[in-house]
Homo-oligomer: 245 residues x 2
C-alpha cells in the first residue's frame, strides 16, 4: 500500500527518540518495541535522505524498492488521472511511515511539500528485519488499521460532505497530524498551499478560498498569516464539520 500515519498522541510515550543513528530522532517511532540488537541492525540499514520543496520521493508505478519513515518536514501523497486531475490522499509529517506496497510497484506518488528529511530502507533488508522482529509487523498493522480508519473518514468527507463541511473537518483533523510542532491548541499551521488543500478535499482552489473567507467573516477562524490560522470558535467549527449548521 501506501502511507501509515503516526499513531495518536497517547502512543508518544512509547517512542524511542534518537533510535536511528543514520537519520536522527523520531525516525524509528514505528518500531517502538524493537529489541536493542535489532535496533542496531536497523540503524545500519537506514539511510537519511533530504528533500527540497516539491522534490518527488515516490512515483506511482515505479518498482517499490524502499520503505520510508518521515523525520522532518511534510510530504504529500497523491494519485493522478491521465488528464492531470490530482487527488491528494494524505499529508505526512515527522514520524509517519510510508512505502508499503502489495505488488511490485507503488500505487501512489509522494513529494515533499516543504523541505523534508526521510529515513530510507531498502525493501529486502526491511523484509529481513521483519522476519527477525515480529513486533515490527504488529506495529505496522496497528498503523495500517489507523490509516484505514482515516481513509474511511476521508471517503465520507469526499462522497457526502459539502465544501464547508469538508474544510471544517480538515481544519479539525490537521493539528493531530503534525507532532513535530507542538503549537497552542487553537493555532493551526497550514504548510500546504490552497491548491493542495483543494486537491485533498476534492474541491477547487477558488472554493477553498471562498469558504475560508466565509469562516473568517463569521468569526469562526482568523488568518494570522497565509499559512497559519487561529480557531476562534471551536464548537462552531465542530458543528459545521458534521453538518449541524
Amino acid at each position: 500500500m501506501l502511507a501509515l500515519k503516526s499513531l495518536p498522541p497517547d502512543c508518544a510515550g512509547r517512542r524511542r527518540e534518537s533510535a536511528c543513528g543514520s537519520c536522527g530522532a523520531r525516525s524509528l517511532s514505528v518500531c517502538a518495541s524493537i529489541p536493542d540488537k535489532d535496533l542496531h541492525r536497523l540503524t545500519d540499514l537506514a539511510e537519511a535522505v533530504t528533500l527540497a520543496p516539491g522534490e518527488p520521493l515516490i512515483r506511482e508505478g515505479e518498482p517499490a524498492g524502499h520503505v520510508f519513515n518521515v523525520t522532518s518536514g511534510s510530504i504529500r501523497v497523491f494519485k493522478l488521472l491521465p488528464d492531470g486531475r490530482r487527488q491528494i490522499t494524505g499529508f505526512l509529517f515527522a514520524g509517519d511511515f510510508l512505502g508499503l506496497a502489495t505488488g511490485e510497484a507503488y500505487a501512489f506518488s509522494a513529494e515533499a511539500i516543504e523541505a523534508a528529511t526521510v529515513c530510507r530502507f531498502r525493501r529486502p533488508e526491511y523484509r529481513a528485519l521483519i522476519r527477525d522482529c515480529p513486533a515490527l509487523e504488529g506495529a505496522l498493522l496497528d498503523r495500517a488499521t489507523h490509516e484505514l480508519a482515516a481513509a474511511q473518514n476521508q471517503m465520507l468527507l469526499l462522497g457526502r460532505k459539502t465544501a464547508m463541511e469538508r474544510l471544517c473537518s480538515f481544519l479539525l483533523d490537521l493539528p493531530s497530524h503534525d507532532p513535530a510542532r507542538p503549537t497552542p491548541a487553537d493555532i493551526i499551521r497550514l504548510p500546504m498551499t490552497r491548491a493542495e488543500i483543494a486537491d485533498y478535499l476534492g474541491l477547487t482552489i477558488e472554493t477553498v478560498s471562498r469558504v475560508l473567507g466565509k469562516l473568517k467573516t463569521q468569526g469562526v477562524v482568523r488568518l494570522m498569516t497565509m499559512n497559519e490560522l487561529r480557531v476562534e470558535r471551536p464548537e462552531q467549527l465542530r458543528a459545521l464539520a458534521d453538518g449541524e449548521a
Copy 2:
C-alpha cells in the same frame, strides 16, 4: 480499522478450503499459512453466524468485541453523518475479513446486503492466536496494505471523477471482489441496490440510474436483469473510467 478485502485471485492457490470446522469452506482464507495445530485452536474459537438481508453485523461506536471473516453472501461497510447521509466505504464478499479497530470501538458499521454468513472470533482469543501465530499478522498486514491501496483509488474516484467515470470504474472493479461466483468475464452481478451503488460512489440514485441508462444507450453495457449486466464494449468502459472520453 475496518475491513480487509480478499487478496487478488493469484493468491487463491494458497487458500485452504474447509479449514474452519465451525463455519465451512473459505472462512480461513486469511490464515493460509497457519500451522495445523493453530488451525485447530482457531476452529474451536470460531463461531458461525447467519445474517438476514439488511441485518446489522457491526454498529459504529460499539465496543469492538469481535473480528469476522465473511463466508458467503455480501456485506456493506459504511459510515453515517448525523443527518443520515451515508457513505458506503466497501462491499465485502466471501473470504473477506473485517473488524480490526485501533481503539475500543468500531469506527464503521456493517450490514448484510443479501443473506450472508460470517465466521466470528472474540477479540481476546483472536489476540491470543496472533501472539502464537505470527504468520497471521503478516497475512493481515498484506490485506490491510491492499485495502489501503483500494481506499486511495476510491478517494481519487470520489474527489476527482465525474459521475460517468465513477460508475465505469465501479463496474470494472466489482467482478474482482466476488470470488464466490465465478461468472463469465463479461457478466457483472450487482447484489446491491441502486441506492447502495449511489452511496458507494458519492452520487444519488437518480444519477446512477441516468448514467447507467446512457451506458445502455451507447451500447457499452446491456442490462440482463436488474441485478446483472453484460459488458458489451470493455475497452470503451475502461476508457470512460479514467476520463479518456
